[in-house]
Subunit: 211 residues, 2 copies
């Protein structure tokens, strides 16, 4: 409990650091391989080099995701946690100093692929985007409720695979409503492009008051 209280305190520091500079941070969380990086690659490419997005990448190991994001056109800082299962506010504070984003930038924080632990660690973000993918199965909001309950937006990714798997979108939305009746849910395909303009609008609306 002490760990969480200390983390919440540092998260508040991050939030103040960000709002003093006119910056908005979004914490992207999901299971491993749901498509966080693919989504970011797409969003960055649609920003067409205006440099309005910078990324903090969290992984146990490698800088593969930071490299993918840099290749798409955004600056990225890679955090490696080793056996650690989530990013925390202290790591993000150090990464923000290193990233030193320009005012008006959207700071996307891609958390460790983990549908459990990151739900407990506030990073100082203004919003938490929980991504889930169709192949994982429609019952996940019921089985991993804490992550979905704390989400500002839920994105259902890989809808291009709906014809090839058993996934009942209505049942998924029912499950989601049971754990978080207020959250909206966007259906997208990061590889095919479906739903990405709605996602861009949601991100732009988030940044609007800050600029």
């Amino acid at each position: 409990q002490d760990v969480l209280r200390r983390n919440d305190h540092l998260a508040q520091h991050n939030r103040e650091w960000l709002s003093r500079r006119g910056l908005v941070a979004v914490n992207f969380v999901s299971s491993p391989g749901s498509g966080k990086t693919s989504l970011l690659e797409n969003v960055i490419r649609r920003d067409e080099g205006r440099g309005r997005i910078a990324v903090i990448q969290g992984d146990q190991a490698t800088d593969r995701d930071a490299e993918r994001v840099r290749a798409a056109g955004a600056r990225a800082v890679q955090l490696n946690t080793g056996t650690g299962c989530h990013l925390d506010a202290q790591m993000v504070a150090r990464a923000l100093e290193e990233l030193a984003p320009e005012p008006g930038t959207l700071v996307a924080i891609e958390n460790i692929g983990n549908l459990v632990c990151p739900a407990l660690f506030d990073l100082g973000e203004q919003a938490r985007l929980a991504l889930m993918s169709v192949p994982e199965g429609a019952d996940k909001p019921l089985k991993y409720p804490y992550m979905f309950r704390g989400a500002s937006l839920v994105v259902l990714n890989k809808i291009d695979l709906l014809p090839h798997v058993e996934f009942d979108v209505g049942f998924f939305r029912d499950c989601l409503r049971q754990v978080n009746p207020d959250v909206s849910c966007l259906e997208v395909s990061a590889t095919r492009g479906d739903g990405l303009s709605e996602l861009m609008e949601w991100l732009a609306a988030l940044c609007a008051p800050a600029s």
Copy 2:
């Protein structure tokens, strides 16, 4: 560190408890939705009611997976961890008492869907089966190395989806070889049935010395 040392001590107790009774336990680990329960349902159905498999189910919430396993024909004890991100040896010790499996039974422990934390917690199992699914992407062994490094067997599930996603099986095997050169890897489809007889053989060989 104390937590891990205490857990290892209890895990050793579990291992002795199991071997005194001629029981073999396998710890099934994966990301959320990789197909652990689907695989168990299939394995249980192929056992044709001989009752040689009993299951300890680990989830944050619900008993949905225990219900699926019971419907397939095996006894199951459901453990709910709340915000907890992994099963530990103490939980498993209590579940073993409750399950009271007959000698010669294979005890399948389905861990919380999480590719990170369960890698650190020995449950007293004889083998750890790490499942990964095609839609998650081929780079996961490099990005989540601890789980793959500690695996006795790696199972690549959902190979029926290979025609519909970008997944290079050769690259996946290269990544796996880099973090665990000794582990073998079975390619299966829990819903279509591919590779399941090899999996049954691997499980039977594990149980053979115990009976």
